[in-house]
Protein backbone atom coordinates (compact mmCIF):
# COMPACT_ATOMS: atom_id res chain seq x y z
CA UNK A 1 0.00 0.00 0.00
CA UNK A 2 1.34 3.34 -0.93
CA UNK A 3 2.12 5.57 1.95
CA UNK A 4 -0.45 8.24 2.36
CA UNK A 5 1.34 11.24 3.66
CA UNK A 6 -0.19 14.29 5.16
CA UNK A 7 2.23 17.17 5.22
CA UNK A 8 1.65 19.63 7.98
CA UNK A 9 2.38 23.07 6.60
CA UNK A 10 3.66 25.74 8.81
CA UNK A 11 1.14 28.57 8.61
CA UNK A 12 2.51 32.05 8.15
CA UNK A 13 2.28 34.45 11.02
CA UNK A 14 -0.58 36.87 10.85
CA UNK A 15 -0.47 40.37 12.22
CA UNK A 16 -2.89 39.31 14.91
CA UNK A 17 -0.37 36.77 16.08
CA UNK A 18 2.63 39.03 15.75
CA UNK A 19 1.34 41.71 18.09
CA UNK A 20 0.49 39.08 20.68
CA UNK A 21 -2.65 40.66 22.07
CA UNK A 22 -5.53 39.64 19.78
CA UNK A 23 -4.72 35.95 19.55
CA UNK A 24 -3.74 35.66 23.16
CA UNK A 25 -6.98 37.38 24.04
CA UNK A 26 -8.84 34.73 22.05
CA UNK A 27 -7.20 31.95 23.98
CA UNK A 28 -7.75 33.77 27.23
CA UNK A 29 -11.34 34.33 26.32
CA UNK A 30 -11.79 30.63 25.77
CA UNK A 31 -10.23 29.84 29.12
CA UNK A 32 -12.42 32.47 30.77
CA UNK A 33 -15.44 30.87 29.22
CA UNK A 34 -14.38 27.58 30.72
CA UNK A 35 -13.91 29.29 34.08
CA UNK A 36 -17.39 30.75 34.10
CA UNK A 37 -18.90 27.53 32.89
CA UNK A 38 -17.26 25.54 35.62
CA UNK A 39 -17.84 28.07 38.36
CA UNK A 40 -21.32 29.30 37.71
CA UNK A 41 -22.73 26.97 35.12
CA UNK A 42 -25.36 24.36 35.88
CA UNK A 43 -24.07 21.12 37.30
CA UNK A 44 -24.68 19.19 34.10
CA UNK A 45 -22.64 21.56 31.99
CA UNK A 46 -19.62 21.56 34.25
CA UNK A 47 -16.61 19.70 32.99
CA UNK A 48 -15.02 18.97 36.32
CA UNK A 49 -13.13 15.73 35.89
CA UNK A 50 -12.03 15.15 39.45
CA UNK A 51 -13.91 14.01 42.55
CA UNK A 52 -13.65 14.86 46.21
CA UNK A 53 -11.59 11.85 46.94
CA UNK A 54 -12.17 10.47 50.38
CA UNK A 55 -15.84 11.41 50.39
CA UNK A 56 -16.55 10.34 46.84
CA UNK A 57 -14.75 7.47 45.26
CA UNK A 58 -14.50 6.40 41.69
CA UNK A 59 -15.72 2.86 41.36
CA UNK A 60 -13.02 0.46 40.34
CA UNK A 61 -13.86 -1.53 37.25
CA UNK A 62 -14.60 -5.20 37.51
CA UNK A 63 -11.20 -6.29 36.29
CA UNK A 64 -9.31 -4.01 38.62
CA UNK A 65 -6.33 -5.71 40.18
CA UNK A 66 -6.34 -4.78 43.84
CA UNK A 67 -4.45 -6.27 46.74
CA UNK A 68 -4.34 -10.00 46.98
CA UNK A 69 -6.45 -12.30 49.02
CA UNK A 70 -6.48 -16.00 49.67
CA UNK A 71 -9.71 -17.86 49.23
CA UNK A 72 -10.99 -20.28 51.81
CA UNK A 73 -12.39 -23.76 51.81
CA UNK A 74 -15.73 -24.33 53.42
CA UNK A 75 -14.05 -25.03 56.75
CA UNK A 76 -12.14 -21.76 56.67
CA UNK A 77 -8.74 -23.20 55.90
CA UNK A 78 -6.86 -21.75 52.96
CA UNK A 79 -7.67 -23.19 49.54
CA UNK A 80 -4.03 -22.77 48.72
CA UNK A 81 -2.06 -26.02 48.50
CA UNK A 82 1.31 -24.27 48.41
CA UNK A 83 2.15 -25.43 44.90
CA UNK A 84 4.36 -22.35 44.53
CA UNK A 85 3.06 -21.59 41.06
CA UNK A 86 2.32 -18.02 42.02
CA UNK A 87 5.76 -17.40 43.40
CA UNK A 88 7.22 -18.97 40.26
CA UNK A 89 5.22 -16.74 37.99
CA UNK A 90 5.83 -13.63 40.09
CA UNK A 91 8.20 -11.33 38.23
CA UNK A 92 8.87 -9.30 41.37
CA UNK A 93 9.46 -12.36 43.53
CA UNK A 94 7.33 -10.96 46.28
CA UNK A 95 5.60 -14.17 47.35
CA UNK A 96 7.12 -16.46 49.94
CA UNK A 97 5.48 -19.78 50.74
CA UNK A 98 6.43 -22.67 52.96
CA UNK A 99 4.42 -25.81 52.24
CA UNK A 100 3.40 -28.13 55.00
CA UNK A 101 1.71 -31.50 55.26
CA UNK A 102 -1.35 -32.46 57.22
CA UNK A 103 -1.06 -34.98 60.04
CA UNK A 104 -1.24 -38.61 58.94
CA UNK A 105 -4.48 -38.86 60.94
CA UNK A 106 -6.07 -36.03 59.03
CA UNK A 107 -8.43 -37.15 56.25
CA UNK A 108 -6.66 -34.74 53.95
CA UNK A 109 -3.31 -36.44 54.46
CA UNK A 110 -2.03 -37.53 51.08
CA UNK A 111 -4.71 -35.57 49.28
CA UNK A 112 -3.82 -32.03 50.11
CA UNK A 113 -1.20 -29.87 51.63
CA UNK A 114 -1.31 -26.32 52.90
CA UNK A 115 0.94 -23.32 53.28
CA UNK A 116 2.32 -22.97 56.76
CA UNK A 117 3.72 -19.61 55.75
CA UNK A 118 2.27 -17.48 53.01
CA UNK A 119 3.70 -14.03 52.79
CA UNK A 120 3.30 -11.36 50.14
CA UNK A 121 5.42 -8.28 50.17
CA UNK A 122 2.93 -5.81 48.78
CA UNK A 123 5.61 -3.19 48.41
CA UNK A 124 7.53 -5.33 46.00
CA UNK A 125 4.42 -6.42 44.18
CA UNK A 126 3.92 -4.80 40.80
CA UNK A 127 0.27 -5.84 40.54
CA UNK A 128 0.68 -7.59 37.22
CA UNK A 129 -1.82 -10.31 38.12
CA UNK A 130 0.39 -13.16 36.97
CA UNK A 131 -0.02 -14.95 40.30
CA UNK A 132 -3.77 -15.09 39.86
CA UNK A 133 -3.31 -16.41 36.37
CA UNK A 134 -0.78 -18.97 37.52
CA UNK A 135 -2.87 -20.31 40.39
CA UNK A 136 -4.20 -23.76 39.48
CA UNK A 137 -6.58 -23.86 42.46
CA UNK A 138 -8.32 -20.48 42.50
CA UNK A 139 -6.60 -19.82 45.79
CA UNK A 140 -5.12 -16.40 45.20
CA UNK A 141 -7.14 -13.59 43.77
CA UNK A 142 -6.88 -9.87 43.24
CA UNK A 143 -10.58 -9.11 43.10
CA UNK A 144 -10.66 -7.29 46.42
CA UNK A 145 -11.28 -3.93 44.80
CA UNK A 146 -8.97 -2.42 47.37
CA UNK A 147 -5.74 -0.64 46.83
CA UNK A 148 -3.06 -0.90 49.40
CA UNK A 149 -3.83 0.93 52.63
CA UNK A 150 -0.98 3.28 53.42
CA UNK A 151 1.34 2.89 56.32
CA UNK A 152 4.59 4.32 57.55
CA UNK A 153 6.17 1.00 58.33
CA UNK A 154 7.54 -1.55 55.98
CA UNK A 155 6.37 -4.46 58.07
CA UNK A 156 2.78 -3.46 57.56
CA UNK A 157 3.10 -4.30 53.90
CA UNK A 158 4.15 -7.87 54.54
CA UNK A 159 0.79 -9.56 54.33
CA UNK A 160 0.80 -12.95 56.02
CA UNK A 161 -1.55 -15.86 55.56
CA UNK A 162 -4.08 -14.75 58.15
CA UNK A 163 -4.29 -11.24 56.75
CA UNK A 164 -4.71 -12.49 53.23
CA UNK A 165 -7.38 -14.95 54.29
CA UNK A 166 -9.29 -12.25 56.14
CA UNK A 167 -9.74 -10.01 53.11
CA UNK A 168 -13.07 -10.64 51.38
CA UNK A 169 -13.63 -10.35 47.68
CA UNK A 170 -15.49 -7.37 46.36
CA UNK A 171 -18.71 -9.35 46.47
CA UNK A 172 -18.01 -10.14 50.11
CA UNK A 173 -17.24 -13.78 49.53
CA UNK A 174 -14.40 -15.69 51.08
CA UNK A 175 -15.00 -19.05 49.45
CA UNK A 176 -13.16 -20.37 46.49
CA UNK A 177 -14.91 -21.06 43.23
CA UNK A 178 -12.79 -24.11 42.62
CA UNK A 179 -15.27 -26.99 42.24
CA UNK A 180 -13.02 -29.73 43.51
CA UNK A 181 -14.32 -31.89 46.34
CA UNK A 182 -12.77 -31.67 49.73
CA UNK A 183 -11.34 -34.84 51.21
CA UNK A 184 -13.52 -35.78 54.13
CA UNK A 185 -16.76 -34.42 52.77
CA UNK A 186 -19.26 -37.06 51.64
CA UNK A 187 -19.08 -36.07 47.98
CA UNK A 188 -15.39 -36.68 47.87
CA UNK A 189 -14.89 -40.14 46.38
CA UNK A 190 -11.67 -40.89 48.23
CA UNK A 191 -11.00 -44.49 49.10
CA UNK A 192 -10.58 -45.53 52.70
CA UNK A 193 -7.00 -46.05 53.63
CA UNK A 194 -7.78 -49.03 55.83
CA UNK A 195 -8.20 -51.39 52.92
CA UNK A 196 -4.88 -52.91 53.75
CA UNK A 197 -1.80 -53.63 51.80
Amino acid sequence: MAVEVKVIKKPGRTIAEQVYIPEIAKGLGFAMGRFFKNTFGPQAKKEIATVKYPEEKVEYPERFRGIHRLTQRTDGSPRCVACLCCSTACPAQCIYIEPAEYDPDDPRYGYERYPSVFMIDELRCIFCGYCVEACPCDAIRMDTGMHMPPSTQREHFLYDKETLLSIPGRDGSYLTANPRHEPGDPTHPGVDRERGH
Binding site: M1, V3, E4, V5, K6, V7, I8, K9, K10, R13, A16, E17, Q18, Y20, E23, I24, K26, G27, F30, A31, A49, Y60, P61, E62, R63, F64, R65, C85, T88, A89, I126, F127, C128, G129, Y130, E133, A134, P136, C137, D138, M142, N178, P179, R180
Partner: protein
Protein backbone atom coordinates in the same frame (compact mmCIF):
# COMPACT_ATOMS: atom_id res chain seq x y z
CA UNK B 1 0.08 -1.89 25.95
CA UNK B 2 2.11 -1.18 22.83
CA UNK B 3 5.13 -2.75 24.47
CA UNK B 4 3.11 -5.75 25.61
CA UNK B 5 1.76 -6.33 22.15
CA UNK B 6 5.13 -5.70 20.52
CA UNK B 7 6.71 -8.38 22.64
CA UNK B 8 3.87 -10.80 22.03
CA UNK B 9 4.12 -10.24 18.31
CA UNK B 10 7.83 -10.95 18.38
CA UNK B 11 7.38 -14.24 20.19
CA UNK B 12 4.45 -15.14 17.99
CA UNK B 13 6.63 -14.53 14.97
CA UNK B 14 9.14 -16.94 16.45
CA UNK B 15 6.41 -19.45 17.11
CA UNK B 16 5.00 -18.80 13.65
CA UNK B 17 1.48 -18.41 14.88
CA UNK B 18 -1.08 -15.75 14.28
CA UNK B 19 -3.62 -14.72 16.85
CA UNK B 20 -7.33 -14.77 15.95
CA UNK B 21 -8.70 -11.81 14.04
CA UNK B 22 -10.78 -10.52 16.91
CA UNK B 23 -7.72 -10.36 19.07
CA UNK B 24 -5.84 -8.46 16.38
CA UNK B 25 -8.51 -5.79 16.25
CA UNK B 26 -8.61 -5.71 20.01
CA UNK B 27 -4.88 -5.21 20.10
CA UNK B 28 -5.05 -2.49 17.48
CA UNK B 29 -7.70 -0.54 19.34
CA UNK B 30 -6.05 -0.81 22.71
CA UNK B 31 -2.72 0.04 21.14
CA UNK B 32 -4.06 3.12 19.42
CA UNK B 33 -5.71 4.19 22.65
CA UNK B 34 -2.35 3.89 24.32
CA UNK B 35 -0.78 5.92 21.56
CA UNK B 36 -3.37 8.62 22.07
CA UNK B 37 -2.66 8.62 25.79
CA UNK B 38 1.05 8.86 25.12
CA UNK B 39 0.73 11.73 22.68
CA UNK B 40 -1.61 13.58 24.98
CA UNK B 41 0.84 13.25 27.80
CA UNK B 42 3.77 14.32 25.67
CA UNK B 43 2.10 17.34 24.15
CA UNK B 44 0.59 18.31 27.46
CA UNK B 45 3.95 18.03 29.16
CA UNK B 46 5.55 20.14 26.41
CA UNK B 47 3.04 22.85 27.14
CA UNK B 48 3.41 22.50 30.88
CA UNK B 49 7.17 22.73 30.73
CA UNK B 50 6.66 26.04 29.01
CA UNK B 51 4.43 27.20 31.83
CA UNK B 52 1.04 26.69 30.22
CA UNK B 53 -0.56 24.60 32.86
CA UNK B 54 -4.14 24.69 31.71
CA UNK B 55 -3.75 22.91 28.35
CA UNK B 56 -1.64 20.33 30.13
CA UNK B 57 -4.43 19.46 32.50
CA UNK B 58 -7.01 19.45 29.77
CA UNK B 59 -4.94 16.97 27.82
CA UNK B 60 -4.31 14.87 30.88
CA UNK B 61 -8.02 14.83 31.53
CA UNK B 62 -8.60 13.02 28.27
CA UNK B 63 -5.59 10.88 28.88
CA UNK B 64 -7.34 9.78 32.03
CA UNK B 65 -10.50 9.00 30.14
CA UNK B 66 -8.47 6.84 27.81
CA UNK B 67 -7.00 5.21 30.86
CA UNK B 68 -10.45 4.64 32.25
CA UNK B 69 -11.19 2.49 29.24
CA UNK B 70 -7.88 0.72 29.49
CA UNK B 71 -8.47 0.13 33.18
CA UNK B 72 -11.87 -1.31 32.50
CA UNK B 73 -10.33 -3.66 29.97
CA UNK B 74 -7.05 -4.56 31.57
CA UNK B 75 -7.50 -4.00 35.29
CA UNK B 76 -4.83 -1.38 35.70
CA UNK B 77 -4.45 2.18 34.60
CA UNK B 78 -0.84 2.21 33.65
CA UNK B 79 0.80 -1.13 34.25
CA UNK B 80 -1.67 -2.91 32.04
CA UNK B 81 0.16 -6.21 31.70
CA UNK B 82 -2.54 -7.42 29.40
CA UNK B 83 -1.01 -8.73 26.22
CA UNK B 84 -0.17 -12.39 26.23
CA UNK B 85 1.71 -14.46 23.77
CA UNK B 86 -0.97 -15.98 21.63
CA UNK B 87 -3.69 -13.56 22.57
CA UNK B 88 -4.81 -11.32 25.35
CA UNK B 89 -5.37 -11.97 29.03
CA UNK B 90 -9.10 -11.56 28.66
CA UNK B 91 -11.68 -10.87 25.97
CA UNK B 92 -13.12 -7.38 25.53
CA UNK B 93 -15.70 -6.35 28.07
CA UNK B 94 -19.29 -6.05 26.98
CA UNK B 95 -19.26 -2.27 26.96
CA UNK B 96 -15.92 -1.94 25.23
CA UNK B 97 -17.10 -0.72 21.86
CA UNK B 98 -19.58 1.74 23.33
CA UNK B 99 -16.97 3.14 25.66
CA UNK B 100 -14.59 3.76 22.82
CA UNK B 101 -17.29 5.27 20.65
CA UNK B 102 -18.17 7.67 23.44
CA UNK B 103 -14.59 8.66 23.91
CA UNK B 104 -13.90 9.65 20.32
CA UNK B 105 -15.78 12.99 20.28
CA UNK B 106 -14.15 13.93 23.56
CA UNK B 107 -10.74 13.39 22.06
CA UNK B 108 -11.59 15.58 19.09
CA UNK B 109 -12.96 18.23 21.36
CA UNK B 110 -9.90 18.47 23.54
CA UNK B 111 -7.56 18.50 20.56
CA UNK B 112 -9.58 21.41 19.25
CA UNK B 113 -9.42 23.19 22.59
CA UNK B 114 -5.68 22.77 22.74
CA UNK B 115 -5.37 24.30 19.32
CA UNK B 116 -7.40 27.29 20.41
CA UNK B 117 -5.32 27.79 23.51
CA UNK B 118 -1.87 27.32 22.07
CA UNK B 119 -1.52 27.30 18.35
CA UNK B 120 -2.12 30.98 17.65
CA UNK B 121 -0.32 32.22 20.71
CA UNK B 122 2.87 33.96 19.66
CA UNK B 123 4.66 33.19 22.89
CA UNK B 124 4.12 29.51 22.21
CA UNK B 125 5.03 29.83 18.55
CA UNK B 126 8.24 31.64 19.37
CA UNK B 127 9.23 28.93 21.77
CA UNK B 128 8.42 26.11 19.37
CA UNK B 129 8.99 27.22 15.80
CA UNK B 130 12.53 27.10 14.53
CA UNK B 131 13.74 25.67 17.81
CA UNK B 132 15.31 22.25 18.18
CA UNK B 133 15.64 21.70 14.47
CA UNK B 134 16.58 18.22 13.29
CA UNK B 135 17.28 17.79 9.61
CA UNK B 136 16.22 14.80 7.59
CA UNK B 137 19.82 13.67 7.16
CA UNK B 138 20.53 13.88 10.85
CA UNK B 139 17.37 12.01 11.65
CA UNK B 140 18.34 9.23 9.29
CA UNK B 141 21.89 9.02 10.56
CA UNK B 142 20.75 8.81 14.17
CA UNK B 143 18.21 6.12 13.43
CA UNK B 144 15.43 8.31 14.71
CA UNK B 145 11.93 6.96 14.23
CA UNK B 146 8.40 7.79 15.14
CA UNK B 147 6.96 11.29 15.41
CA UNK B 148 10.43 12.78 15.73
CA UNK B 149 11.49 11.31 12.39
CA UNK B 150 8.18 12.14 10.78
CA UNK B 151 8.46 15.74 11.87
CA UNK B 152 11.59 16.03 9.74
CA UNK B 153 9.71 14.86 6.68
CA UNK B 154 10.53 11.17 6.69
CA UNK B 155 7.25 9.37 6.07
CA UNK B 156 8.34 6.27 7.98
CA UNK B 157 5.66 4.54 9.91
CA UNK B 158 5.94 0.83 10.61
CA UNK B 159 2.18 0.54 10.46
CA UNK B 160 2.28 1.68 6.84
CA UNK B 161 5.65 0.49 5.61
CA UNK B 162 5.62 -2.93 7.19
CA UNK B 163 2.02 -3.51 8.17
CA UNK B 164 1.54 -5.93 11.01
CA UNK B 165 -1.64 -7.27 12.54
CA UNK B 166 -4.50 -5.73 10.59
CA UNK B 167 -3.09 -2.29 9.99
CA UNK B 168 -3.17 -2.76 6.23
CA UNK B 169 -6.96 -2.78 6.36
CA UNK B 170 -7.24 0.74 7.68
CA UNK B 171 -7.26 3.99 5.86
CA UNK B 172 -5.09 6.52 7.64
CA UNK B 173 -2.47 9.12 6.87
CA UNK B 174 1.06 9.48 8.03
CA UNK B 175 1.49 13.08 9.11
CA UNK B 176 4.88 14.57 8.41
CA UNK B 177 6.39 17.93 9.18
CA UNK B 178 8.61 20.16 7.10
CA UNK B 179 11.44 21.41 9.29
CA UNK B 180 11.76 18.99 12.16
CA UNK B 181 11.48 21.64 14.81
CA UNK B 182 9.55 21.48 18.06
CA UNK B 183 6.48 22.87 16.41
CA UNK B 184 6.48 20.11 13.82
CA UNK B 185 6.87 17.46 16.44
CA UNK B 186 4.04 18.96 18.44
CA UNK B 187 1.83 19.14 15.37
CA UNK B 188 2.71 15.68 14.15
CA UNK B 189 1.70 14.26 17.50
CA UNK B 190 -1.50 16.25 17.48
CA UNK B 191 -2.30 15.02 13.98
CA UNK B 192 -1.40 11.47 14.91
CA UNK B 193 -3.99 11.60 17.63
CA UNK B 194 -6.55 12.34 14.95
CA UNK B 195 -5.23 9.54 12.75
CA UNK B 196 -5.33 7.12 15.66
CA UNK B 197 -8.91 8.07 16.22
CA UNK B 198 -9.56 7.34 12.55
CA UNK B 199 -8.01 3.93 12.90
CA UNK B 200 -10.03 3.24 16.01
CA UNK B 201 -13.23 4.28 14.30
CA UNK B 202 -12.58 1.86 11.45
CA UNK B 203 -11.38 -0.93 13.70
CA UNK B 204 -14.41 -0.66 15.96
CA UNK B 205 -16.64 -1.19 12.96
CA UNK B 206 -14.63 -4.07 11.55
CA UNK B 207 -13.99 -5.91 14.81
CA UNK B 208 -16.03 -9.10 15.11
CA UNK B 209 -18.25 -9.25 18.13
CA UNK B 210 -17.46 -12.77 19.06
CA UNK B 211 -14.91 -15.38 18.36
CA UNK B 212 -11.84 -16.57 20.14
CA UNK B 213 -9.30 -14.18 21.54
CA UNK B 214 -6.50 -16.63 22.14
CA UNK B 215 -4.92 -19.22 19.94
CA UNK B 216 -6.09 -22.72 20.65
CA UNK B 217 -2.93 -24.44 21.83
CA UNK B 218 -2.27 -25.51 25.41
CA UNK B 219 1.44 -25.19 24.73
CA UNK B 220 1.10 -21.43 24.30
CA UNK B 221 -1.76 -20.07 26.33
CA UNK B 222 -3.00 -21.11 29.71
CA UNK B 223 -5.91 -23.51 29.46
CA UNK B 224 -9.31 -22.50 30.66
CA UNK B 225 -9.42 -22.18 34.44
CA UNK B 226 -12.36 -24.53 34.89
CA UNK B 227 -10.45 -27.21 33.03
CA UNK B 228 -7.40 -26.62 35.19
CA UNK B 229 -9.39 -27.10 38.37
CA UNK B 230 -10.85 -30.42 37.31
CA UNK B 231 -8.76 -32.20 34.69
CA UNK B 232 -5.22 -33.38 34.83
CA UNK B 233 -4.48 -32.59 31.20
CA UNK B 234 -5.20 -28.92 31.64
CA UNK B 235 -3.39 -28.89 34.96
CA UNK B 236 -0.33 -30.36 33.34
CA UNK B 237 -0.43 -27.83 30.55
CA UNK B 238 -0.87 -25.08 33.09
CA UNK B 239 2.01 -26.34 35.18
CA UNK B 240 4.30 -26.72 32.24
CA UNK B 241 3.69 -23.11 31.28
CA UNK B 242 4.22 -21.88 34.81
CA UNK B 243 7.27 -24.01 35.52
CA UNK B 244 9.15 -23.75 32.30
CA UNK B 245 7.62 -20.85 30.52
CA UNK B 246 6.59 -20.94 26.95
CA UNK B 247 8.84 -23.11 24.84
CA UNK B 248 9.74 -21.60 21.53
CA UNK B 249 11.56 -23.23 18.68
CA UNK B 250 15.25 -22.58 18.42
CA UNK B 251 15.96 -19.57 16.35
CA UNK B 252 16.32 -15.87 16.09
CA UNK B 253 13.73 -13.27 15.30
CA UNK B 254 13.45 -9.54 15.00
CA UNK B 255 10.02 -8.05 15.16
CA UNK B 256 9.24 -4.37 15.13
CA UNK B 257 6.13 -2.38 15.71
CA UNK B 258 5.24 1.27 15.81
CA UNK B 259 5.37 2.24 19.45
CA UNK B 260 4.25 5.53 20.85
CA UNK B 261 7.54 7.19 20.06
CA UNK B 262 8.82 5.21 17.15
CA UNK B 263 9.96 1.81 16.09
CA UNK B 264 9.86 -0.61 18.96
CA UNK B 265 11.88 -3.67 18.08
CA UNK B 266 12.47 -6.94 19.85
CA UNK B 267 15.33 -9.16 18.86
CA UNK B 268 14.99 -12.57 20.44
CA UNK B 269 17.40 -15.44 20.30
CA UNK B 270 15.88 -18.66 21.50
CA UNK B 271 17.66 -21.83 22.46
CA UNK B 272 14.44 -23.76 22.52
CA UNK B 273 13.87 -23.50 26.24
CA UNK B 274 11.22 -21.67 28.19
CA UNK B 275 13.38 -18.61 28.78
CA UNK B 276 14.97 -16.58 26.02
CA UNK B 277 18.64 -17.08 25.41
CA UNK B 278 19.04 -13.42 24.62
CA UNK B 279 16.64 -10.54 24.20
CA UNK B 280 17.50 -7.16 22.90
CA UNK B 281 15.00 -4.38 22.83
CA UNK B 282 15.25 -1.53 20.40
CA UNK B 283 13.52 1.20 22.33
CA UNK B 284 12.50 4.19 20.25
CA UNK B 285 13.41 6.80 22.84
CA UNK B 286 17.03 5.83 23.15
CA UNK B 287 17.68 6.80 19.56
CA UNK B 288 15.43 9.83 19.65
CA UNK B 289 17.19 11.06 22.74
CA UNK B 290 20.59 10.57 21.13
CA UNK B 291 19.49 12.87 18.33
CA UNK B 292 18.56 15.58 20.77
CA UNK B 293 22.19 16.64 20.73
CA UNK B 294 21.75 17.83 17.16
CA UNK B 295 18.52 19.56 18.05
CA UNK B 296 20.05 21.46 20.93
CA UNK B 297 23.39 22.48 19.44
CA UNK B 298 23.49 26.18 18.86
CA UNK B 299 20.31 26.85 20.74
CA UNK B 300 19.77 28.53 24.04
CA UNK B 301 19.70 26.79 27.38
CA UNK B 302 16.04 27.56 27.72
CA UNK B 303 15.38 25.75 24.44
CA UNK B 304 16.24 22.50 26.11
CA UNK B 305 12.91 22.58 27.84
CA UNK B 306 10.54 22.50 24.84
CA UNK B 307 12.93 20.37 22.80
CA UNK B 308 13.25 17.79 25.50
CA UNK B 309 9.53 17.89 25.99
CA UNK B 310 8.81 17.26 22.35
CA UNK B 311 11.31 14.39 22.11
CA UNK B 312 9.30 12.67 24.84
CA UNK B 313 11.97 10.75 26.58
CA UNK B 314 10.81 7.66 28.47
CA UNK B 315 13.29 6.99 31.24
CA UNK B 316 12.86 3.26 31.20
CA UNK B 317 13.76 3.03 27.56
CA UNK B 318 16.95 5.00 28.00
CA UNK B 319 18.16 3.09 31.03
CA UNK B 320 20.57 0.75 29.29
Amino acid sequence: MLNNVGWSLAVEKLLQIEVPERCQYYRVILGELSRIADHFTCNGASAMELGAFTPFLWLLKVRDWVWDILERETGARMTHSFGRIGGMAAPPTASFKDDVRQLIPEVHKVVKETEIMLLRNRIFLDRMQGVGVLTKEQALSYGVTGPVARSTGIPYDVRKDHPYMVYDRFDFDVPIGEDGDNWDRFMVRLEEIRQSVRIIEQAIEQMPDDGPINVDDPRIVYPDKDEVYTTIEATIAHFKLVMEGLRTPKGEVYSFTEGGNGELGFHIVSDGSGTPYRVRVRPPCWYNLAASREMLLGGMIADIIPTFGSVNMIGGECDR
